[in-house]
Each structure stands twice: as structure tokens, then as C-alpha cells.
Symmetry: C2
Subunit: 274 residues, 2 copies
């Protein structure tokens, strides 16, 4: 059992994973809905970014991580990474008996609810956009879709360069050629950290959709009541890269980390062999 | 002894390390000078990039890695990373008894030899430029220095986006404001992979300096004769991140990898505690 790796016992935690620090935006939204719930966050920083890696490789990573979280004793797993949701969610949901949530469906639902013109844009990593996961779901609802991959934006966030000249240059490059849309899905958990800069570039007539809120609502709905504890829930972070670097990066992007435990990536690779 | 981690015995190998795949450009230059020599390459991909991390953190990483390579049995260590050379070389050279080479001094020497006007530029990571390591050495030789940090360029290379529109946008952003220089040091081992794009932006009147060649000459000079073997030297790559991802990235940037062995970053962290 991997449970012994926990620094202290947790009470029916929810697992949540991302390639790096971006998923902390999802964790934050979840904590607002479920303030007394314990969480295990796994940041696969040794293998960030997922966005340009082959879909089959990312699906393998996601399988190993979900198996690790299951062994830790989580009650459900949130894939707080669009690339991994796009390439792995259906297969994982079919294989594991605990509930598994992705970020794509909640984002699509929110966009469909918010659009007035029926013209929706989505931006994401190369992997997410190439998978067509958003486009298919949006078109199935009769919406017209404009999609753009933005491979450099995840690095803007991880470098702490949100709002920098480089950030604005790249946003104009990726967004100035957009079709007429009234809603734009931020299809990468890193992008909410660029919310204000993106809003400036696309203007106030475009509504930005961050799927974290809708996702948190879905998880809240299916997990039942928040434990009636007085104490705030605890968080343990497992990171496959350097723990100090994780704390440093999450500080750079303005997210507060809990206890950080190093997890050798070899442990996850072992769990990938089915 | 970490020597047992080698997949097969090597003959008096030289160790070489970098935060990621960039150091492969240095390995390539070394192999041209020393084709029969065995090499151990360590890519600390679990903790890439080093460029924005605090100097003391990078110095710790470099210490653990050098100790690991020493235990493997290398005859000398090449720090094929400007950020680590800038923050760790003097201390490491004082602590270890095997020879340790960095990339900064060879680059400075080459630039001093090549400049006609005495006006030299240097580009690198935030850490390298902030350390002032290049600037001090160049100014000590009476040269006038223009320095610029380019935090996004390492990601352009690792994303396989050399020559892309994003690459050109960022190069113009970083380089268009340069002073009148006739020589430009590529102060990051990733940048030689952007050589042609950089040359287009600065024009033919500026000579680009890649320190890998000068470094290879220095190593060649102090290691004595290449072993008189008929067979080409062997290479073992240790990577702290995902081995498949390393092979994939090095393929994306057009460098051929040898045998790739996963090395848990926890093993290096253990060696950092002195």
C-alpha cells in the first residue's frame, strides 16, 4: 500500500493531479466548495509539460498516477489537466471503480450555457487541441467552434511571466486571428492564471470560461455532504520533481502549497505496467 | 557505489550534466574531439529549467549531481549548463579533486578572440545574466558588454519550436533593443539549437559564439590523448525525469540519445546533504 507514504492519515481524501502547478487553480476552486474535505494533490513536475507529448504516453502517465492515488486511499480522482483528460478519461473511468472527473465536460457545459451567439472558442495545449475533445463535444451541441493551440502559454505561467511583455506578445499571436466568438474556454488549467491578460487581449465582449468552477460543482454534487468538521481540510502534495522547486514555483504563481512530499517518478512508472 | 547503476562498465568516462537536453549540444562537440571516449550524460529533466531558480538551489543540485558522477567513476565533470556554471563552478572546483569544466570561461575566451570592436553581447537565462558571471569576466578583459536574459528561449527549444513564428517574435523582443555589438555569446546550451534563427535576427555582421567548441578543446587538452580504441566511445544517459520523454524531446530537437537510464531525483537529493 502506498498509504504509508502519507505524512499523516487523511480522512476520505479526494485525489487531484496535474502535470505541474496549473492544477492548483482547480484545487483552489474545490476547496471553496469543500473546505473541510482532505485532498491529495499530485504534481507530476518531473514530466511537465504533458501538452506536447504523445497521447498514448500521457494516458500511461495518467493510469500510473490514478493507480497510485487509489492505493493511497482516495475516494475519487480529479484529472485537473486538460491534456490528460482528453487522452485518458474514458479509459480510466472504464477501468477504475472510484469516480473520476475530468475538466473538459464541465468547461463545455459552462460554455454552452453562457454563449449567446453559439460561437465558442477554445485554447489549450497542442495535445488537447489535436485530440479534438473540446471541438467534438461543442459541435455535438450545435455550436460553432474556433480552436487554437498555445504551446508557450504554460511556460509563461510556470516562469512567473503572467502580464509580462512576452506574455502579451504571445497572447496577441495566438488570439488576434480568432473568429467572431462571444465565449472562450480556457482549456488548460494554467490559463486561469493569465485571466486578466487574456481578457485585455480579447476585450470585454468575450466571456472567459474557467472549468474549475463547474468541475468543483460536479464533484461537490456527487461526493455528498462535506464532512461536518470544524477544522479546515488538510492537503498533502506529492511531487515527482524537486519539492523545493515546486514550492518555489507555486509561490511564484501566488498559490499556497501545503505539505510537499517527494515521490520518485520511478514509483509511478512501476504502476504503469499493467 | 553508484557504479552498479551503469548498464555496462565504461572505460574512464567523462561526466557531463545539464538541466535538460540542451547539454547534448556540448556532448556532440566533445564527441567530435574525443570520438573514442566514453561519456556519462546526466539530464536533470525532473528539475528543468534551472534558469529561474535561486542560485543557492541550483548550486545544491550541481553538488549532488557531481557527487553522483564521481561515485559512478568519471575522470572529470563538464557542467554543460550556464546557470549551474555561473552559480556552482568555483565552489565545486574547490571541493572535488577531479577536474571540473564550465561553459562560461571558454565562451568568454572565444568572444575576446573574435571581437574586433570590443563590444560583446551575451544572452542567457535569468540566473546566468543576474549572476553577472559573463559580464564580470568580459569587463575584466576591457570589453564593453550588453547583456539580456531570455527566459522563454529554453522553452522554445524544448517545445521543438525553433524557427516557428513564436520563436521569431520572442527573438525580436529580446534582441531588437541590443547595443552596437559585433559578437554575441550564446550563454545557454539550448541556444545553439536556435543558431540560424538568431543569426537571421541579428544579421551577418554579428558573430555568434557557441562555447561548446572552445570547451571541447579545453577538455581535450587537459584529458590527454583519446583512448586508442578502434570502437566509438559509448554513452549512458541518466535522466531524473521520464526516460521516454527524454528520448522524445531529444528526438524533437534532432539529437540522438544513447542508452537512457532513469535516476530517481531522490537519489541526488540524498547526495546534496553534505
Amino acid at each position: 500500500m502506498s498509504e504509508k507514504l502519507l505524512p499523516y492519515p487523511l480522512d476520505r481524501p479526494i485525489g487531484i493531479f496535474d502535470s505541474g502547478v496549473g492544477g492548483l487553480t482547480v484545487l483552489k476552486a474545490l476547496r471553496r466548495k469543500l473546505p473541510h474535505r482532505d485532498f491529495v494533490y499530485l504534481g507530476d513536475t518531473a514530466r511537465v509539460p504533458y501538452g506536447r507529448k504523445p497521447a498514448a504516453m500521457v494516458a500511461e502517465f495518467a493510469y500510473g498516477i490514478t493507480e497510485f492515488l487509489r492505493q493511497i486511499g482516495v475516494e475519487g480522482v480529479v484529472i485537473a489537466c486538460n491534456t490528460a483528460s482528453a487522452s485518458a478519461l474514458p479509459e480510466l473511468a472504464g477501468h477504475f471503480s472510484i469516480p473520476i472527473w475530468g475538466v473538459i465536460e464541465p468547461g463545455v457545459e459552462a460554455a454552452a450555457r453562457l454563449t449567446r451567439t453559439g460561437r465558442v472558442g477554445v485554447i489549450g495545449t497542442k495535445g488537447t487541441i489535436a485530440s479534438g475533445a473540446y471541438q467534438r463535444r461543442l459541435e455535438r451541441r450545435g455550436l460553432t467552434v474556433w480552436a487554437q493551440d498555445c504551446p508557450m502559454l504554460v511556460h509563461i505561467v510556470e516562469e512567473g511571466l503572467a502580464g509580462s511583455p512576452e506574455c502579451d506578445l504571445l497572447l496577441h499571436h495566438y488570439l488576434d486571428g480568432r473568429a467572431a466568438i462571444d465565449t472562450l474556454i480556457l482549456g488548460c488549467t494554467h490559463y486561469p492564471l493569465l485571466h486578466d491578460a487574456i481578457q485585455r487581449v480579447v476585450g470585454d465582449s468575450v466571456t472567459l470560461v474557467d472549468s474549475a468552477e463547474s468541475l468543483a460543482q460536479a464533484v461537490n454534487g456527487s461526493m455528498g455532504a462535506d464532512p461536518p468538521a470544524a477544522a479546515p481540510g488538510r492537503i498533502v502534495h506529492f511531487v515527482t520533481g524537486d519539492p523545493l522547486a515546486f514550492a518555489h514555483t507555486s509561490e511564484v504563481i501566488g498559490e499556497v502549497a501545503g505539505e510537499v512530499v517527494p515521490l520518485p517518478v520511478t514509483e509511478l512508472i512501476r504502476l504503469q505496467s499493467r
